[in-house]
Symmetry: C2
Subunit: 160 residues, 2 copies
């Protein structure tokens, strides 16, 4: 089906396996309902969780979306009580966005339900492979978080 590949690189194998695992996880997590929060709203909350007081334009950039769409998303999240708007003391044009207590509680609950789905798989794995998985994923998280952070900083540099 795919083109001929002589001696696949180790990183290529790793990328293929990780890609497959992620697609399976997407199916698995599709079962842990995020209601009453949509996927888009969830992305907003995940960003707000780590960027207290971010303004609307930066949030739109982080979503790779536009200010009008993001504004409407925040309208509904605010109406639902998961997000709060405030005015910037420095610049009265700017809106400052916060995750409410209810918003944080919701994320915590959702993570609990998703991790339960995960455990149903992890429980059935041989212990040695599970330990290897954790060790590998911890390193993966370190590198991925650093990369995402660096890219965000670079994007701010270009914008500012």
């Amino acid at each position: 089906m795919t083109a001929f590949r002589p001696r696949p690189e180790p990183d290529e194998v790793a990328a293929r396996v990780t890609s497959t695992a992620a697609e399976l996880l997407e199916v698995l997590w599709g079962r842990a309902s995020t209601a009453p929060v949509s996927a888009s709203q969830l992305r907003v909350m995940l960003i707000l969780e780590h960027h207290e007081g971010i303004n609307l334009r930066t949030l739109a950039d982080s979503l790779a979306s536009t200010p009008p769409s993001t504004s409407r998303l925040c309208d509904r999240l605010q109406a639902a009580g998961f997000v709060e708007r405030g005015v910037s003391p420095a610049d009265r044009r700017e809106v400052r966005l916060y995750l409410s207590g209810r918003g944080r509680a919701f994320l915590s609950d959702l993570r609990g339900r998703r991790e339960q789905e995960l455990r149903s798989v992890l429980d059935r794995m041989p212990a040695a492979q599970r330990i290897a998985l954790v060790q590998g994923l911890e390193a993966f998280c370190d590198v991925a978080a650093a990369r995402i952070h660096d890219d965000d900083a670079a994007a701010r540099g270009r914008t500012a």
Copy 2:
């Protein structure tokens, strides 16, 4: 932030780490554009890839969606040339759905771009952890695929 947890179980740690890794990956992959295919359309194509000739109702169930929404999704995928509709020989009410050659080519290209994003992380990991990750994820994929397959079969049992 979270409740007191005496002696966390190994599986709990594994679930938390996997959950974190998945959230990071979601951000990372958000950068590999799926245009001109929406997220919903992509889910349809991923299911059709492994279920040749599935009918519309079963596809809707697999998406945890409804027949009308799924029908419209297929309208657009068909118009774009990624999906084909056929009539069932056994029951003329049923539609049989297929991924077209263009559809398969698109998935292959998307996977290539996503795996490139992944490699940018994997390349920066220590070799030992990368090997551990692959070993762990292979076992994860085996168990997850089996679980998803079992659940699908059980769902068919309840419906039929």
